[in-house]
Symmetry: D2
Subunit: 284 residues, 4 copies
């Protein structure tokens, strides 16, 4: 499969003929569907779908696709987004002191696993500046304290705008974003170092140790105004034993955090994640 594709993520009240309407729109315009998946949430009475088709040979010019499809979607009361695979999203990585998720994302980016540009790294510490330089990415140090948080968040928002950032990835950024910030920039993925909803909040590995669990986990989720309560994209776990002290849980957890965050970011960048309510459909 080659060439640019368009991807439609759509949800609307369930009714007869939705698959036909969507596929006819593409077929009638000469598109070749390369992926189509749908899900019906019978409880919510909701139809959710992802359709991806090749733009090569598609009769509608790109700037016409949106209005043309809108004419179909409006009567369905649909919520939808349209993405072109060659419109590369711009991603900012936010970190604190730990480097494992940052390194991992940058390595995957170089290995072409992540279809994105990464022009910006923001940190509340200076320690990872060197890595940013090594990969040739702008690094901005914005320390956060209780008393300066609003100003600093304003600076962060300004940077996101200036760098035209589409997605923020909190790669072990150990600060809570304010509800005001989230209201202004909502497209943010966080990695939490526990199997949510267990051990939401601070020090999850320490608390996992104290509870004596036999398995630990990591959770990638979209950020909402409620700490660690946003829609979950991906989770994974690893076994631990009585021999594992908190430091071992942290070490084992790093491997989880890297892979869970990377999977979530990749799924998002491939437009495979559809959020509704506090849930996600992952068209994997």
């Amino acid at each position: 499969m080659t060439g640019a594709t368009a991807t439609l993520l759509i949800s609307c009240p369930d009714q007869r003929g939705l698959v036909a309407k969507l596929s006819n729109f593409i077929y009638a315009n000469g598109g070749n569907i390369v992926h189509a998946d749908q899900h019906t949430d019978f409880l919510a009475g909701l139809f959710l779908s992802r359709i991806e088709w090749q733009l090569d040979g598609f009769k509608l010019p790109r700037d016409v696709i949106r209005p043309a499809f809108g004419a179909i979607a409006d009567p369905l009361e649909a919520t939808w987004t349209l993405h072109f695979s060659d419109a590369i999203p711009r991603l900012a990585i936010w970190v604190s002191r730990q480097d494992h998720c940052l390194y991992d994302l940058l390595w995957r980016h170089r290995a072409q696993e992540l279809n994105a540009e990464i022009p910006l790294i923001i940190s509340n510490h200076e320690s990872l500046q060197e890595i940013a330089e090594q990969f040739g990415i702008d690094f901005h140090h914005i320390p956060i304290a209780a008393e300066n948080k609003p100003e600093q968040e304003a600076k962060q928002l300004e940077l996101l705008q200036q760098y035209r950032i589409d997605l923020v990835v909190l790669a072990k950024y150990m600060q809570v974003l304010s509800a005001e910030f989230v209201a202004q920039f909502s497209n943010t993925i966080n990695i939490h170092h526990s199997f949510l909803p267990a051990f939401a909040g601070a020090n999850p590995y320490q608390r996992a140790y104290e509870r004596g669990v036999k398995i630990i986990g990591a959770t990638a989720h979209y950020v909402t105004a409620d700490l660690d309560q946003g829609p979950i994209i991906e989770q994974d776990v690893v076994r631990v034993s009585h021999r594992d002290e908190t430091a071992d849980l942290i070490r084992k957890g790093k491997d989880l955090e890297r892979v869970v965050l990377a999977r979530a970011v990749r799924l998002h960048l491939q437009n495979r994640v559809l959020v509704y309510g506090n849930r996600t459909v992952v068209f994997a």
Copy 2:
């Protein structure tokens, strides 16, 4: 979701408009799609799809659906099957001496996890007859030896016909089916007690022990004339350690075998498995 559904499993050479053609057929006749999934194998140039829709409100009578859809499918050079959810498949379970998979399938059947009738158990030993009686299922003892295999397989085929069996489940039936048998009855699922293709053939746990593996597995697959080479439906694994002797691998493996076989049978009964070449698409 309630009421009977129809499910179409279809594969054909890839071309534009296939999703539209399939969904239009259903929509034009007033059907409500409850599940639609498709996959394109770009290497093989093949489109594969599963569509399930509610029969309630569908305008075509059941006996007309096949010829009507055939008119659409023929020009596409499609291979397809159609299933009605209230046409309950009839299943025969074949066993030898081990009871764990048999028990598990019967328990799941009673718990309504398996949408099937189970009128027949065949075994080359008498030891599990009591379980068959306990669940009120006919039990036929057909011992197999090198010299009587052709006659015994003829008897088995006769029983399958007499009981109108749609699917045979080899639930630890420790005999190899002859190529002649497979040619005459092809809808058979086997559970092999290894992570295929490792340890195909006899004594996989003993050989896994000798090789010193750290993980063992089980594999459910369709039976073909080539031993343990058929299309794989489902696999799963469990960790083992140096403390596990062959007897421990057998014990741990039983838990795998039960669950892997049950998942495969359930997927098959839900018409979620599409075989092409020596591969399966599992629309889960």
Copy 3:
């Protein structure tokens, strides 16, 4: 390895020479150690060990081993228990309406995976009486209501005494044991249908569905006066997706519950679990 063994589970403040003192006691009396494992919890300053040795050829008569070892253990301020592999523990299974864990334990018992006698099943419903009869086990129906709980728990305790029960297994017994009950009979294993500490309490699958988790779990733990807070013995998990409704989580969870509970009971019966504080060491 054949013949009866003795197993010592011991914990005491850490100090030099503990392994030597334990192993010398056994060696000096002609015992052959078949399993020895130890763990040091450096945070708690605690040494914990399991030693198992063959009784064949051991010079001390059984009734002398306890006082003899006591003379060694007392100066170490040790907590310890001694178990003989041919003193078969007596187990009571408590159930409500669901049969999967009960069936699984009884099947494993018959398959000789569980070294125990199972003379007693207690239920607050009558629905599983037939299974008890089928396996030839006494069944006592003790319905529980808010107003009669103290009397009914008194009856339950009386039955445990009458049947000389060593271990109670709550195999989906959907009632909370009172603190008074737990104070009088403490050796109880429960299976909770979530990945604790997530979703402690009622309706975990429903809440897991609502939270939109991508993995569900089950937890086997010792029962304490605090609901779902006791020391964890074993946990396991399985992936779920947006396609899984609450009923699917329940179905998938049953497979987890069966295997997690069975593993925990087996580990306990092999005297491989040592509890200290709210944690367990599992000498697997």
Copy 4:
């Protein structure tokens, strides 16, 4: 736990009193055991053990421990090695063109997960030289062709000697070592990109795709003269589906390879792996 430790890895014919003899040796000389684990292979009649104790307060000088313990081990016909935790092993990483395992090991080394020095990287290609420079490690390019293999392996052996290498890690070094090489340097860990013994040899992901497996794996093992047949240290797996083409298996496999190789190297460096016959005991 702080301070240097000594670790003994020992195997010998099973007999009474082995644990006592080992622990007495340490206790009598004032050592404090921090880890002791043993395993008896009843089939092989072999006792295998790992004991680690703090050197602080141990009465025997380091150079006396070996002869002193030898006097105990000789009558037991034991095979044993002794390791001091502050004698840091020197590790060479061999690579071809793929960077993921190299990067991962170097990141872990910097994160202090691997107690080793890494002075040398050898490759049959030049492409990863830059990474070596970035981490300040000597890089030697030794291209291999059918006609020059003996000379090139002689160069490699010379480098191992010159750099005083204790352990070679084949981090996706896509060349087969000759039996002659293995005879001269035997302490080598390889990562194979399949779940051995499935898909030993070349192109495992391609063959896994063709076989239609539902799970892929990776295996870390010691290198012997027989390709992919050496003692297995660690394995892990990940699910795949019909949507995964060979390129996806390769991508998913990289994550497995990184973590499986890293775990194996860490276990080896902690002297937790004891090889006997073609098996390993992993005292984890």
